[in-house]
């Protein structure tokens, strides 16, 4: 499914694509079900920390399905993984900043 696909449009690859189309449909159904699950869970008024955890876990599963299958990350080249690993590291720092702010400044003193 990765970048070499677009440069190879032989009949063998067409058969390969047929298999992937079935995967796309399966992922689509999974995303729909998870969307319904997200909304259904929100109707139960859990305490905020539990509600946030559940919502983020479901959203992460949905996001992973989109990234892995629609964006073909499941079979990408190493360079793309390296770029994304760096991005994830910086993203984690970015999200950690509010946490540091509320830790009495222990880490930034």
């Amino acid at each position: 499914m990765a970048s070499d696909h677009a440069t190879d449009m032989t009949s063998d690859h067409a058969v390969d694509i047929d298999k992937h189309v079935r995967v796309y449909i399966t992922v689509f159904v999974a995303l729909m079900v998870l969307t319904i699950v997200t909304v259904a869970i929100s109707r139960y008024h859990f305490p905020v920390p539990i509600a946030v955890t559940i919502a983020l876990v479901v959203a992460t599963i949905k996001g992973s399905l989109v990234a892995c299958y629609f964006m073909h990350l499941i079979s990408e080249k190493k360079l793309i993984y390296a770029v994304l690993a760096l991005t994830v590291a910086f993203f984690a720092v970015l999200l950690a900043l509010p946490v540091l702010t509320y830790s009495d400044g222990y880490w930034i003193r």
């Binding site: 677009a6 992937h20 449909i25 919502a55 989109v66 991005t87 509010p98």
Partner: protein, 196 residues
């Protein structure tokens, strides 16, 4: 001068230049939305009280829009798969569907915004609405941008299919990566703003 490595992959990276380019761009986009998500957390944690999204925002409408955007991601990937199977007619149908679904998303957001503005709920009203308008507004701009590119490939840009089908397929794949990213951002925005 022709742009190098649009069709054949570079030996050192194993990728076309366009593929590396779009992923680097998406990495910068992650940081852009990440900064806004971090701001959201900071503002929410610092607020003495914070409203549940579903008491202010229209959850059924947003759920409908989530379904629309996920469906558009499927039509987008099917458009690319159609080109891989050398079915240009099918590509046109799926790509047209993707653009139309993007339009549906924006129309729904237009009515949603209109409703809030009619009630006098502006970005300046409170912090919740400020972050809501900022995040969804930026996301809408991305949807619009993706629609323009996809519409180009559906229309005038499709001429490339006749002269260089592999390059055209690669370009559609790259615009698809951006479109899926826009979908991915909404997958996190929806529960964050509307349900928590």
């Amino acid at each position: 001068m022709d742009i190098p490595y649009t069709v054949e992959v570079r030996r050192d990276t194993g990728l076309t230049n366009g593929k590396i380019g779009i992923w680097l761009f998406l990495a910068s986009e992650v940081m852009l939305f990440g900064a806004l998500f971090a701001s959201y957390i900071l503002i929410r944690v610092g607020a003495p009280s914070w409203p549940r999204g579903d008491t202010i925002l229209d959850v059924p409408l947003a759920t409908f829009n989530t379904i629309v955007l996920i469906s558009s991601s499927v039509t987008m990937v099917m458009a690319w798969a159609s080109l891989m199977r050398r079915r240009f007619g099918t590509f046109r149908i799926y790509m047209g569907g993707t653009v139309l679904l993007g339009l549906v998303f924006l129309v729904v957001k237009y009515f949603e915004y209109g409703h809030h503005l009619q009630l006098g709920e502006y970005p300046s009203t409170n912090n919740f609405l400020a972050i809501y308008y900022t995040l969804t507004g930026l996301h809408m701009l991305h949807v619009f941008g993706g629609m323009v590119v996809n519409a180009y490939f559906w229309g005038p840009g499709a001429k490339l299919w006749k002269t260089n089908p592999v390059w055209f397929t690669n370009r559609v794949e790259h615009s698809g990566l951006f479109w899926h990213f826009v979908d991915l951002v909404w997958i996190f925005l929806f529960p964050t703003l509307y349900l928590l």
